[in-house]
Amino acid sequence: MRKMITALALATALAGCAQLQEALQAGKLLTASVSNPVTRERLKTTEDTLAVAFGLLNAYKSACIKGAADVNCKSNIRAIQVYTRKLPPLLARLRSFVNNNDQVNAIMVFNELKSAYDNAKNVATTAAIPGAGAL
């Protein structure tokens, strides 16, 4: 019973992210381009948005460790990690390029980062992780 309540609460939290996503349109990971450059403001909004998404992914992981998530949660998390583990070096490079206002490379790396994040999101959605569509 306790597991059910916890799972329900987690699902509610993740589903709430769908509504949050509507409010985060300004922070949506849109493809960067010359006409849509990666400014410091855009970098911050992107990182804040990713932090919220990872907060929810960590909630799923925490629930998994506690045995309160679905039976496939460990394999789901490992599948998502294939892509999320690409993010740290990309973030480091992106921050450096934005700091130096090197837009050519910043745009290229931003779009690589977006691709890795989109792949992680797709795996989460395919695995039917609650609320994954809102990530």
């Binding site: 916890t6 609460a9 987690l10 948005t49």
Partner: protein
């Protein structure tokens, strides 16, 4: 970000935090991320200190998720 979007963000953020508390999950990272978003939206510009705070939070979140699960 306009005021309506900010208020919507706060409302949804509180919904998420309430649910996370009910699920026994840590709410601090989500709260901090939401605070960062609202602060940035309110001020309209980003200082190096604000960016550093956001980056520290995100790096911790990513590290936590990327750690091996047994």
């Amino acid at each position: 970000m306009d005021a309506v979007a900010v208020f919507a963000l706060i409302e949804k953020g509180l919904t998420i935090v309430t649910a996370l508390i009910a699920a026994g999950q840590s709410v601090e990272p989500a709260m901090q991320a939401l605070m960062n978003l609202v602060t940035g939206a309110k001020q309209g510009t980003v200082t190096p200190e604000q960016l550093a705070q956001t980056e520290e939070l995100l790096d911790q979140q990513v590290t936590d998720f990327n750690s091996d699960i047994q």
